[in-house]
């Protein structure tokens, strides 16, 4: 039986990991992610989660260890944040190149100096081009559900890429909300144990092989192309996994995107993470004033939901992007992504970019409302 518990975002992630029957956890503490690694340690020591827990000496080693574990055939998990993500950056790229279907929880936080432990998207966005699938969640329920979905997507034989699940520091990580924890039996049926479709680092199973020695440029191009194709195939896999998840568990947080009153809207607020929920509140308030506004959440930032975005935005008058990041010297990262997609389809829709809430600064509905009204 499923049950409803009051869980913080971090606890919801830990529950997702536990229900996914992860076999190897390697992690290193950093605020605001720490509760995830503490909770998992408690469950492994208490026998609630039958996993090996590697208490590594750094994030670089955390990512290294889950790569090794996954390449040897185990389902593996790690979580980090901010400086920790940057410290493991080399291995984050390695994981994608090695095609290991690991899942990582990233609790978004500002990267210093100054020391600032609050929400900011700059950590995860800096890994945009490395070959990870990225899910940005808006609430604690979605955090739990996304971890389970992430393993199904990552381990699909058409994908075999690692997945990051992003939740904003404190906004979600340390805020309790009611979360429906699905029944283990249902999760087991939805997510069977990991069965690698390729060679593993185990001489009892696989014949001798070498991985990762020097590859000439012309062969490297093929490896990259395969990764790109896998990213593109992931879109279909994501749509299917989300549908099946809804059928079994009755929840849908959106597929690649989530639309809110977009159909008849003239102006659409595009966002990700918790801001997407704030945007829905803004939409309701502005609609009361008679303004035709909608909200679109980018749930999967990679692979980028090109088709969905075009379909949703093609006949709109204005797009306002609200994001907790800024590419210094240029513009908001999400806004740039949107413009590139619209431009590719020859759509001349102005995209306004607002960077708000950096380093955990407050994001108020009235700030967003003001901009929307200005552009209407």
């Amino acid at each position: 039986m499923s049950e409803v518990l009051a869980l913080t975002g971090n606890e919801a992630v830990a529950w997702g990991v536990r229900l996914s029957r992860v076999e190897v956890v390697a992690a290193y503490p950093i605020t605001p992610q720490t509760v995830i690694v503490e909770k998992l340690s408690e469950w492994v020591e208490g026998g609630e989660l039958d996993a090996e827990y590697i208490r590594v000496e750094s994030e670089h080693s955390a990512m290294s260890a889950v790569i090794g574990a996954s390449a040897a055939g185990a389902r593996a998990f790690t979580a980090t944040s901010s400086h920790g993500l940057f410290y493991m950056y080399e291995m984050v790229a390695f994981a994608a190149g090695a095609r290991v279907p690991v899942v990582m929880g990233v609790v978004n936080r500002f990267v210093g100096p100054p020391w600032n432990i609050w929400a900011d998207w700059m950590d995860a966005l800096a890994t945009r081009d490395l070959g990870w699938i990225q899910i940005w969640v808006s609430n604690n329920q979605e955090a739990l559900d996304s971890i389970i979905q992430a393993y199904r997507i990552a381990e699909d034989k058409h994908v075999l890429l690692p997945v990051m699940v992003m939740l904003e520091g404190f906004v979600l990580s340390h805020t309790s909300a009611p979360v429906r924890v699905p029944d283990q039996k249902d999760v087991d049926e939805f997510l069977p144990s990991y069965n690698p479709p390729h060679y593993v680092l185990n001489p009892e199973i696989s014949k001798t092989f070498g991985f990762g020695n020097i590859v000439w440029p012309w062969d490297t191009v093929h490896l990259r192309w395969d990764m790109h194709k896998a990213m593109l195939s992931a879109k279909g896999v994501i749509r299917r996994v989300v549908r099946e998840y809804e059928e079994r568990f009755g929840v849908n947080h959106g597929g690649l995107i989530k639309e809110y009153k977009v159909d008849d809207a003239e102006v659409v607020i595009v966002s990700m993470a918790s801001i997407a929920e704030t945007a829905e509140i803004v939409v309701d308030e502005l609609r009361k004033e008679g303004l035709k506004v909608g909200a679109l959440k980018i749930r999967f930032f990679r692979p980028f939901p090109t088709k969905e975005v075009i379909k949703a935005l093609k006949d709109k008058y204005r797009v306002v992007v609200v994001e907790r990041d800024i590419s210094l010297g240029h513009d908001g990262v999400l806004a740039m992504e949107l413009r590139s997609v619209l431009h590719r389809y020859d759509l001349q829709i102005p995209v306004y970019s607002i960077s708000l809430g950096l380093g955990g600064d407050e994001i108020l509905p009235r700030q967003i409302k003001k901009v929307v009204k200005e552009v209407m």
Binding site: E23, V24, A26, A51, E52, I54, R55, V56, E57, S58, H60, S61, A62, S64, A65, V66, I67, G68, A69, S70, A71, A72, G73, A74, A76, E90, M91, F94, L201, N202, P203, E204, S206, T208, F209, G210, F211, G212, N213, I214, V215, W216, D219
Partner: protein, 306 residues
Amino acid sequence: MSLREIVSKPDLLLPGHSACPGCPSAIALRMALKALGEKTVLVIPASCSSVYQGIYPGESFNVIVYNVAFASAAAVASGIRRALTKKGYTDVNVVVWGGDGGLVDIGMATMSGAAERGEDLIAICYDNEAYMNTGIQRSGATPPGAWTTTTWTGKTEIKKPMPFIMLEHGARYVATASVGYPIDIYNKVKKAASLRGEGFRYIHILAPDPPGWRFDASLTVELGKLAVNTGFWPLWEAEVINGKIKFRLNPPSNKLLDPSKRVPIEKFIEKQGRFRVAKEFHLRKLHQQMDFYWQLVKAYLSISKD
């Protein structure tokens, strides 16, 4: 075991690798793989070994090989080991095979973490005393007086005493070896493999490197012997059992506690081009390094007497 018996064991280093003539890493790896056997996963950080194994789709190491980032080997190996253990495959050797750069310098924290956690791994460092793969740059394991392409006038600091550092982690088994004594390498790797299931094991093999140390490729083994007989590189092994250290010198180093029994260090130095830049103070530093290493040896010998 005699050299003849060892040589007759299947060779898991296949012909066709691209190591330099006289490569000490290839000699040591050949011995190590004979001792480890086929049920082995090699984890190799960036180094000459990641290059000379061959170019994709070729591969001249006939075991499962995972090439990993420079600093990551002992952590990746920890993950592999835990995954195999979790799935019940306990009789596989998971082995880190890396250079002095990968294990003594950039991967030091990773090695330290794995040793402290008592991961059930064997880590083997072939120490050619510099970053050879990138063109002979100084490492923490380069000795004083040695020319490298980042110490044109000779390195001024002593060699980091890595095997002692690993021993102080309480590693289950730690040994030094030299490419001058291949049977000793075989026996020590065999010993380490026999302790599978008991924790972290570390073997540090001194690897005289013809292009890096500037000597003729025919002299690799001779220099490996001279390094030991001059007392530059003492051969020893140690076990830690329930917190108790059992440390012993191996032949021929067991005869060399008395410095007068050692071949003069000049015999070792003069055969290598890299020491040509060494000045008086470099050589003093080199002697200090040797004194320091032998002091550590004596300290451990006296600890393990009782």
